[in-house]
Symmetry: C2
Subunit: 308 residues, 2 copies
């Protein structure tokens, strides 16, 4: 096999209670990345369709992660990468992670899978470092593993795959504004009240238990963020209104996707997701801000090969 | 039934990563509490064997929790409580919780179980308030529910029962020193670094996952406390040496039980627990501090009726 095209999904990091730790993989949105073996050594990004991102392999997430992979294998050929970029950069649903994970997943397939998924996550983290300055793992992990993931530690890297509840639909609202990742990090306090931290880790523990117990009520009650959301929500116009609308109309939980500006809303069943989408659309249409909104599902399998 | 004797077990709160949230029930240590129906309304503590604690129902944990229960039921009789106190007050293994939980459990049995276990936890929390000033739930919850518990929230009260790993033995070292609960609370910072809090909630989430997955390695790696232990361990002589000795000799995890001074060490299998006990004993005998040490197991059923 000399050529492969993979679908590398968008993801939601943090999931309210689990800042920097929890992540969830999405089904219908993702980059399509084609990788060809080439006689020339190294990595080349030959095409980028959809968004105008750097083709420089050191700056592009897909390039940087692929370079990190190449450091760990001795081969006398290289790879050319074509990216059909579908995850909107800066939207907060793991755009750089999608590219970073996609290239290394595809290359690993072409090489006959010499690397474990944990190793692929490590390489993809280098793509994150190139794109946003920090080798974060909470988007690339669900992209590669699918479903819900928990980053236990980054050094050494240990990521857990958590069970998924059935019938979960996810509404993503993407207000068309730009939030710089740096700003969304800078707005956070360096220190947090111990009493708040206690509530947060009670929620993380409960969230994990809810997934194993298939307990939708507990899942819903655990999707609560008293640490990060109060700060970051200030950067997202009408966040509190959207959240209230979402919860009032039956959503299990609503929060900031990654560092925003996208807002996720998790619903049980398509009917519920449709209603929540309608109500959010109705509300957000009254504001002066352009937005995209769509319904997707939790993607339990993660990145996959499309062709061959 | 007019009389009942219950065994109300000792407990370990916090469990390293889960300050104020996680708890574990112990098997071989507990108060024996006898409750008799009396014609006289109200609660009377008629006897206290073992330790010289107040018989004042408003100050005694068993009395205060029983009074809290009585407020929620209309009866024209009362109860007399005899306590054979076996959990050393101030030892850090839930002494007040043992009494607080025991009385309300026993009374509920005599009344034909009008109250749920969650309601009993609420009443027992009032016993904790009487004994140590705060209505904490992380000891009374495992005492009443058994096994491992997670206090999701105290208002409204929601406590989760978590699965238990097989073959877990617990070594308890009780240095014969006194730490006032107030001191052990005061020594904690009001604010903690966000980066540390993130690590802590990653550990809590992983700990919960480890219990469901029956993953002893992950269980062990999650028993890690970077928030509270660095402060409280200063109040416990030779804590770091005991911990190192414990881990060097195969313990899965070692930490401060509740607010100390007891130190717990969780081992897989009795052989491992015996070895850890020997090594800790060997070490602590070289210090000038008196101590008790014993091996017990995780108690999966919690409080139980002994007679009738």
């Amino acid at each position: 096999m000399d050529k492969i095209t993979v679908f590398s999904p968008a993801t939601v990091a943090n999931l309210s209670c689990g800042y920097d730790v929890l992540g969830m993989c999405l089904e219908h949105v993702g980059d399509e990345i084609t990788i060809k073996k080439t006689a020339v050594k190294g990595i080349k990004i030959s095409k980028m369709i959809g968004y105008d991102l750097s083709l420089d392999v050191h700056k592009n997430a897909a390039g940087a992660s692929a370079l990190a992979l190449l450091k760990h294998i001795n081969i006398d050929f290289g790879f050319e990468i074509e990216i059909v970029k579908k995850v909107h950069p800066g939207s907060g649903i793991g755009s750089s992670a999608s590219s970073a994970a996609g290239s290394v997943f595809g290359i690993n397939e072409l090489l006959g899978r010499p690397f474990s998924k944990t190793e692929l996550i490590k390489f993809a983290m280098e793509g994150e470092r190139a794109a946003c300055g920090t080798p974060i793992a909470d988007n690339v992990s669900p992209a590669i593993l699918g479903g819900f993931t928990l980053v236990k530690s980054t050094n050494p890297l240990k990521v857990l795959s958590l069970p998924t509840l059935k019938d979960l639909f996810v509404v993503i609202l993407h207000p068309q504004i730009e939030i710089k990742t740096a700003d969304s990090r800078d707005i956070l306090p360096k220190e947090v009240p111990l009493t708040d931290a206690v509530k947060q880790w009670a929620n993380v523990g409960s969230f994990v238990s809810a997934l194993y117990e298939k307990d939708y009520d507990l899942f819903s009650e655990s999707l609560n963020d008293i640490i990060v959301e109060p700060y970051r929500s200030k950067l997202i116009p009408y966040f509190n209104d959207v959240k209230q609308t979402s919860l009032d109309n039956g959503s299990l939980g609503c929060g900031i996707s990654g560092s925003g500006p996208s807002i996720f809303s998790i619903c049980k069943g398509e009917l519920s997701a449709t209603k929540v989408t309608e109500k959010i659309t109705e509300f957000y249409s009254t504001t002066s801000i352009d937005f995209h909104i769509f319904i997707t599902k939790v993607n339990t399998s993660g990145i996959k090969t499309i062709t061959p």
